[in-house]
Symmetry: C2
Subunit: 200 residues, 2 copies
């Protein structure tokens, strides 16, 4: 959590939810450049000060809004990663992952996040710290286990492998003719197979 | 080439170059949503009609402007791909590829192209058809040869492998702390190694 989020206690969870929803909608519709705190407050039906009381910058607010949406995806716990075989963890999450990544909302969000990465590095930095990094740590633990099992090469650069998995999916959904959920299921299996996390 | 580009003959190559340069600058600075034909004409120091005489839409103009920048990268010919070992082709292009992908201009461009993919699919479609597809065909030929040589699995999905390579690089350069040219050289080697296009 950033310092900004610690400001006071939420007085009304519904107001917060409305603000986050408005921020997400506007970000997807107009991008970070086309979105302002004023517009978010207006769409949420609250005053500007109500927003500023909880979030210092629009980047921080948008990052939290995005996080709420994507954190609904299925993520194994640290305990599961330790206890289960990588292929079983992958198998258990495949269907949800395919449905999420094939959805228009995911595509639109990926495009906007990537699009803001250079012009608004603060947004990517917050998203990276709160959302991406914890997931990369779990993926690293899973890949280390796969290295012990011998399905991933011992000298492989795990950060690069993670980029290859995440990068393939994000690049694929931004290409013309993105796959539907069934197509995405095959696609994900193919990616995991190439990495050594899914049986051939 | 699209129909729009076939309109008449360029009367003044310098004017065309100025228009393409202005389009690229504005696209990188403001994104496709923040750029208009009017602004491009103004920055290029020409009248709006001069631009409309050659390009029907801003998407078409921006796509050609982007293409001019990125087509400067080192691409093997079909003949070279047939004649040379994949690893030699990769090795010959590594340094240039590392320098290009580590440059701030490349990062900014990748962010803007990705960012426009969902809101302005026409831009990605033109870029895909003119720039990405021909390069994917060369990559496919290279990977087929690597399959014959036994360094890439026979049952690998080559489109997925290409996404993994391109996706890793584009995702890496949009992350916080992007690598410099030296770091990118190691990164690219690691990606190609994992695919089976570079020695372990």
């Amino acid at each position: 959590m950033t310092a900004a989020r610690g400001r006071g206690r939420p007085r009304d969870p519904e107001t917060d939810a409305a603000i986050l929803r408005a921020a997400l909608e506007l970000f997807i519709e107009r991008g970070v450049e086309g979105t302002s705190i004023e517009q978010i407050a207006k769409r949420a039906g609250v005053g500007k000060l109500t927003v500023y009381r909880r979030w210092t910058t629009k980047e921080d607010l948008i990052a939290q809004a995005v996080e709420q949406l994507v954190s609904a995806d299925m993520v194994p716990t640290t305990g599961e990663v330790r206890a289960l075989a990588p292929q079983d963890i992958i198998e258990a999450g495949l269907k949800t992952a395919a449905e999420t990544t094939a959805s228009p909302a995911f595509r639109a969000l990926v495009a906007r996040m990537m699009g803001a990465a250079v012009s608004h590095p603060q947004l990517m930095a917050v998203y990276w710290r709160h959302h991406v990094l914890p997931r990369r740590e779990l993926a690293t633990a899973m890949l280390r286990r796969a290295q012990q099992d011998g399905t991933v090469a011992e000298d492989a650069d795990l950060d690069v492998l993670i980029d290859m998995m995440a990068g393939a999916v994000t690049w694929r959904v931004l290409q013309p003719d993105p796959p539907d959920a069934d197509g995405m299921l095959d696609y994900l299996k193919s990616v995991y197979r190439q990495i050594g996390l899914y049986p051939r």
